[in-house]
């Protein structure tokens, strides 16, 4: 009896529709968020993440409406984010039905955002999203959708974010994202070892074997993927059965 490793499908949206792209560029439509959320909830997803990757101010009401519609269908936790710049942005997302809020670029620019959110909603509700890219012997934090370097070391930023009040790290490998070449095991293990909070690994998932690796060698507490689930290349149920057979503790759906 112990904490199960979580499988988390992610819906990257333009506010309204699910979109997908490789290395954060070349977006194309991948479906209706409510339909996908309903399917993942029924298939045994442990949580759902919905991100507004366009994060433009004028489309924010549309994104909040998407959160409301998705939350109404779920009996599992919902994390939402993308473009969260202020405490008020975080409040709007929580009021719309999210259990947790992710912060990324705005937290790099103003780390107090993390403590403001965790003071109001608790540390369990604040997820620090870190987009990390290998640069020589270390990993650099990338911002603005993975396009710009923040000139910060990913491990140091993860530690600082946790000290500020983040209750979880959503770690995306910019090098692997969208490539379906497997999770970045080395990066994830390094971050997971450096922090006291759970780490969600993201970027590069393809085969069930990748998930075994990220849990067993990458020390991930949860693993997130998008396109392999959207395209039905991988059902969550089959993935979890595979993991259980390989000795990874998961919550098997009924």
């Amino acid at each position: 009896m112990s904490l199960a490793h979580r499988i988390i499908p992610c819906l990257d949206t333009d506010g309204e529709r699910v979109v997908k792209g490789i290395n954060f560029v070349g977006l194309r439509d991948a479906g209706d968020p409510v339909a996908l959320a309903t399917r993942y909830n029924a298939e045994g997803a442990d949580e759902l993440v919905v991100l507004d990757i366009a994060a433009s101010r004028d489309r924010r009401p549309t994104f909040l409406e998407t959160i409301r519609r998705v939350a109404a269908e779920l009996s599992i936790p919902l994390t939402a984010g993308g473009g969260i710049r202020t405490l008020e942005d975080g409040r709007a997302v929580v009021r719309a039905g999210a259990d947790k809020v992710t912060v990324n670029t705005a937290a790099v620019e103003r780390p107090d955002l993390i403590s403001e959110l965790s003071r109001e909603f608790g540390v369990q509700a604040v997820v620090l999203a870190i987009d990390a890219k290998r640069s020589g012997e270390h990993w650099e934090v990338m911002v603005r959708g993975g396009r710009e370097s923040a000139s910060l070391d990913a491990i140091e930023w993860a530690r600082a974010g946790v000290a500020a009040g983040a209750g979880e790290i959503l770690l995306t490998s910019v090098d692997r994202d969208g490539t379906q070449s497997g999770f970045d095991v080395t990066l994830t293990a390094a971050i997971s070892k450096a922090v006291t909070v759970p780490v969600i690994a993201s970027g590069g998932a393809k085969s069930p074997e990748n998930f075994v690796e990220i849990f067993q060698q990458g020390a991930a507490d949860a693993a997130l993927a998008a396109s392999i689930f959207h395209d039905e290349l991988q059902s969550i149920r089959t993935l979890k059965e595979f993991l259980a057979a390989r000795g990874v503790e998961v919550r098997l759906p009924c």
């Binding site: 009896m1 112990s2 904490l3 199960a4 979580r6 909830n41 442990d46 939350a71 109404a72 009996s75 599992i76 936790p77 929580v94 009021r95 039905g97 259990d99 003071r119 109001e120 909603f121 608790g122 540390v123 369990q124 509700a125 209750g167 979880e168 006291t196 909070v197 759970p198 507490d221 949860a222 919550r251 759906p253 009924c254």
Partner: protein, 201 residues
């Protein structure tokens, strides 16, 4: 029977309400002492900081009507912080007083494991549990907390473990409480809420 949800501003109030609606239950949210005094069944959701809940209960004058209602035998379900506040105090906010309806205090989970205890975990039954009726022994429930009541007592119906064993389900007369989030725990969680509705009817 109508379920009165104490709405002190906790983030999980809407999802608890939605879960009850899906079960066809009649529920309403309130932060008024009068509504608590006349409640037929009470539900206290909670997530976040212990101090926020205690300060809200005192700031809105809800402590006395809540304690009175529970003493009168009104069925009560506490979720997460709603379980923790039943005890004397919490290490999370040492200077504040809980409802002191159950013996013991709320402590930090050990730092030997990753915190918060976040995700799906299983329970170990300690004695007969009405809330867990009809639920498989191996069922998983969703937890999101860093503090817990570690010492078991006669009200402990089930425990969970993360670094240390802690109270996951409490049942004592009309008092029911769970450390996990039934509103986020899939079908197993729905069953817990359904069981509470039946017990409260």
């Amino acid at each position: 029977m109508r379920v009165t949800i104490l709405d002190y501003g906790a983030g999980n109030v809407p999802s608890v309400e939605r879960a009850l609606q899906r079960l066809g239950a009649d529920s309403h949210r309130t932060d008024s002492p009068e509504c608590i005094s006349s409640a037929e069944a009470l539900l206290l959701p909670g997530v976040g900081h212990y101090a926020a809940l205690v300060r809200a209960l005192d700031g809105k004058n809800l402590r006395a009507p809540l304690v009175d209602a529970i003493h009168r035998g009104v069925p009560f379900l506490g979720i997460c912080l709603g379980l923790q506040v039943l005890f004397k105090s919490s290490e999370e906010a040492g200077q504040l007083q809980g409802l002191n309806l159950l013996p013991g205090i709320v402590s930090a989970l050990p730092s030997t494991v990753k915190l918060p205890h976040m995700g799906w975990n299983q329970l170990a039954k300690r004695h007969h549990s009405s809330l867990l009726a009809g639920i498989d022994a191996g069922a998983y429930f969703y937890f999101a907390h860093s503090y817990a009541v570690l010492d078991s007592n006669s009200s402990t119906a089930a425990t969970c473990a993360h670094g240390s064993e802690f109270n996951a389900v409490i049942e004592l007369r009309n008092i029911y409480a769970v450390q996990f989030h039934p509103e986020k725990s899939g079908d197993s969680g729905v069953r817990v809420l359904q069981n509470f509705l039946r017990l409260a009817a």
